[in-house]
Symmetry: C2
Subunit: 207 residues, 2 copies
Amino acid sequence: MTSQTLIETAIDQFGRHGFEGASTREIARASGTAMSSITYHFGGKQGLYLAAADHIAACVREIQGPALALARDVAGTGTREQATEALLALLDGFAMMMIRPESEAWALFITREQQAPTEAFDRLYAGVMQDVVAVFVALLGRIRTDLPEREVLALGLMLFGQTLVLRVCRAAVTRILAVDTIDEDTRALLRARLRANALCILSEKPA
Amino acid sequence: MTSQTLIETAIDQFGRHGFEGASTREIARASGTAMSSITYHFGGKQGLYLAAADHIAACVREIQGPALALARDVAGTGTREQATEALLALLDGFAMMMIRPESEAWALFITREQQAPTEAFDRLYAGVMQDVVAVFVALLGRIRTDLPEREVLALGLMLFGQTLVLRVCRAAVTRILAVDTIDEDTRALLRARLRANALCILSEKPA
DNA sequence: GTCTATACTACGATAGAC
DNA sequence: GTCTATCGTAGTATAGAC
């Protein structure tokens, strides 16, 4: 599959160097094909970029799919305790994804789109984010029944931010924790801390 | 000041398009000067990039300087309650910075360096991050005396992550909260939520 | 469907006038 | 200290052979 190889290489290159910084020459070379294959399969650089966005959405959807489906069930029928556990599991899944090396290229790709959204952001949002947000908010609404909708949304964003930092501030994280890479011990530490923080926030007593 | 103008334009362009994506031609044009001024003042594109990193560090240092100095005092001599308030103030300062439009270019610049650090990251870290982390951890250590050092570091990172999401996931934040920009009401909501979350985590009872 | 060859544009760097 | 002019390289896109 030339087109599949091109997409995977493209995600890496676009993530690493940005849209303008990445070169179709280099993407084609690293994919072991000719530059003009990009034109043939995707119409050009822009088309390849959008295809890369779709692929990222599909990957995230595949990784988080099962946990998301489970969470969706619980959000509809579960108890508050079940909802809490489902949300903690979802959050843990995101933290694990942020720690995975593969998420590096995705993260830069998505981050860039977040600051200056193009059509690629719409595809990412419609492709995964929308569903994740819906389930997240449904679970949160069931757990923190004391909060109005808008507060629940803000709460959800900040919970997510605690996992985000692991990817987006990777160099600072490793430097502060004095490790080269996030090893087994560090991962366990971070997961436990995330769970403790989240549990604490989720069970906060209304003032 | 041609060199100052160049640096400011450079931060914007490097942030928006990355190192390779930004063009010295465009930076010079937008700064109202000739391309060769970059060679004269900074030796070349790389030199301008490093100067941009230094400028970002200086800006952040200037913005957070007063709060940081205050927090440093409290970290040395204050009570646990004072330390808590100082940390909440520091965190609020970061959230406000993340919300500011000016931080957009900085954020992308720094984010890129976090994923693939170059010499510019060392300058950013030595320029501000190091001091911020030190004060942050000192305050946290005074508040959560029950936690070992490493747990305190993880806790600090995740507290920061809650502010980070406001900048790095900006497009998602506005879309989820259904606003075009972060207006006064939204800002108040986010600040209150951040404070509530942080307060909750900081006063968590040891298991 | 994939290749080679090529057209055209924009890049960063530098030399030299002022 | 700032300009214009120019060099060599690398970018995307496209035409056409196979």
